[in-house]
């Protein structure tokens, strides 16, 4: 079938048209799909789109695809789908209608393709006309110093200073109560400290001051800080004894630092 197509087409197409088709191939990346390509090809017929020969156009397209194949240009699948459809359309247009086939006639299909091409061209023109219009920010301009200061206040939210202070009091109160709920006596037992630290040790991969292990809030009150520091220190000694942590101190009264002992290594 391909062969007979070739012959037939070389009859129909002028040299000029074939050159045009080749030029189009070079430009294949520039096409926006098969319909765009068909529209471009139709221009070589130099007639109004209303009078275009769809049969002729189908042949032009098939030549294009053949040429692309020869030049080993890989066409996207939708170009090939269109080629198959056009080959089908061509056969419908050339063969006498088969009365047993209830599908649309070749003429109907051709008319639809012509409609699609006209519509695409019409939209191209419309797009060009649209872009040729005067445009805001290029040809005409809005007010440069708008004065719509109060527009935003269409919905005003009511909140008074009292609301604000009450809200703050609310969150502050919540905050202050939290530590005291945990322990009212300002005394941290070693057991409590140990339990706390056991949970934290797996994450203590780097040296950190012992003081950073005090429970939250306890560092503020001197009394509580003292108790918590003593308990935490005692607990850390216990952990050293168990081989879970290492302790170090840079000098007299320097901060005591603590770090988890990597499992499997001996104490240095």
């Amino acid at each position: 079938m391909a062969d007979s197509d070739q012959f037939e087409i070389s009859d129909v197409l002028s040299v000029e048209e074939r050159l045009a088709a080749e030029a189009l191939i070079v430009d294949v990346d520039g096409f926006e799909g098969p319909l765009d390509l068909l529209l471009q090809l139709s221009r070589t017929q130099k007639v109004d789109l209303l009078k275009i020969s769809i049969l002729h156009l189908a042949q032009q397209y098939l030549v294009f695809v053949e040429r692309a194949k020869e030049l080993r240009i890989e066409l996207a699948a939708d170009y090939l789908v269109m080629a198959a459809w056009l080959a089908f359309l061509k056969s419908r247009l050339l063969l006498p209608p088969d009365p047993s086939d209830g599908g649309p006639s070749g003429e109907e299909l051709a008319a639809h393709l012509a409609f699609q091409l006209q519509r695409l061209e019409a939209m191209r023109d419309a797009a060009a006309k649209l872009m040729a219009r005067d445009q805001k920010g290029r040809d005409f301009f809005p007010r440069g110093i708008p004065e719509e200061v109060q527009r935003k206040r269409n919905v005003t939210y009511r909140a008074t200073l009292l609301d604000l202070m009450q809200a703050y009091a609310r969150v502050r109160t919540k905050d202050e109560f939290r530590p005291f709920v945990m322990d009212r006596e300002a005394i941290l037992s070693m057991e409590q400290a140990l339990e706390r630290m056991r949970g934290m040790i797996p994450y203590a991969l780097d040296w950190a001051d012992l003081s950073s292990y005090l429970p939250e809030g306890w560092e503020l009150d001197p009394k509580k800080r003292r108790s918590a520091t003593a308990a935490t220190f005692a607990a850390s000694l216990e952990l050293v004894k168990q081989g879970q942590v290492e302790l170090r101190q840079g000098g007299t009264f320097a901060p005591i630092q603590i770090k988890a002992r990597p499992s499997g290594t001996s104490r240095s």
Binding site: E32, G33, P34, L35, D36, L38, D78, G103, P104, S105, E108, L109, A111, H112, F115, Q116, Q118, R119, L120, A122, M123, R124, D125, A126, A127, K129, L130, M131, R133, D134, Q135, K136, G137, R138, D139, F140, F141, P142, R143, G144, P146, E147, E148
Partner: protein, 215 residues
């Protein structure tokens, strides 16, 4: 609400509304103050009771005919814009818009002329798939937005153009798109199904609806 309010306003207007010339000044002030188009409803809400912004607008529009700035209509809103022939004075104000790709421009035109328009319809017209980025870019420019979902299987979303689009291209409504009447008369805005394919016909009715909306 509109009905009764209007009556009340008319009654009041006999006594209270400022003279039309004064209303014109007010409309002038409000339009000058805003960079965006102001709707009639917004004007009415801001002006004293009994005012008729529409009549004042007509006066104002006439007053600015041929001047350096003009009173233009954008959908159901109004704005003052500089006369296009003076654009050359405004190099300093010119805003560089990213150059739109051919695909984006065509997609925009298709949505404008065929709205509300589904993605499948855009693809059908262009014969090529629409990249996500193209629609995103147009959305970002606020030239298109989602319209109602189509009542066809899959309930696809539709796209429509926005008042910003009209404003940008100096259009009063989508009916004023260049050549829209001729295109419609030529049947080129119909969604015509491929012979032998199921019909896609319901698009048309909705489309007319939307253009009705814009008037």
């Amino acid at each position: 609400m509109a009905e009764t309010d209007q009556k009340v306003e008319h009654v009041e207007s006999l006594f209270e509304a400022p003279p039309l010339a004064e209303q014109e000044r007010m409309v002038e002030a409000v339009l000058f103050a805003s960079a965006d188009p102001v709707t009639l409803a917004d004007l009415a809400a801001r002006m004293p009771h009994g005012c008729e912004p529409r009549a004042a607008l007509d006066l104002l529009q006439k007053r600015y005919e041929g001047r350096g700035v003009r009173v233009v209509r954008v959908g159901d809103a109004w704005a003052i814009r500089t006369a296009p022939d003076l654009g050359f004075l405004m190099q300093k104000e010119t805003t560089e818009t990213r150059k739109l790709s051919r695909a984006a421009i065509e997609t925009l035109a298709i949505i404008a002329y065929h709205q509300p328009c589904t993605r499948a319809e855009i693809e059908e017209i262009r014969g090529v798939s629409v990249s996500r980025g193209t629609l995103d870019q147009l959305m970002e420019l606020e030239w298109i937005r989602f319209g109602r979902r189509r009542m066809s299987p899959g309930r696809p979303v539709t796209y429509v153009v926005t008042p910003d689009f009209l404003d940008h291209f100096g259009l009063e409504s989508a009916r004023d798109l260049p050549g829209v009447k001729e295109l419609r008369a030529a049947g080129l805005l119909d969604s015509r199904p491929m012979p032998g394919d199921g019909d896609l016909g319901d698009g048309d009715e909705e489309q007319d609806d939307l253009f009705e909306d814009e008037s």
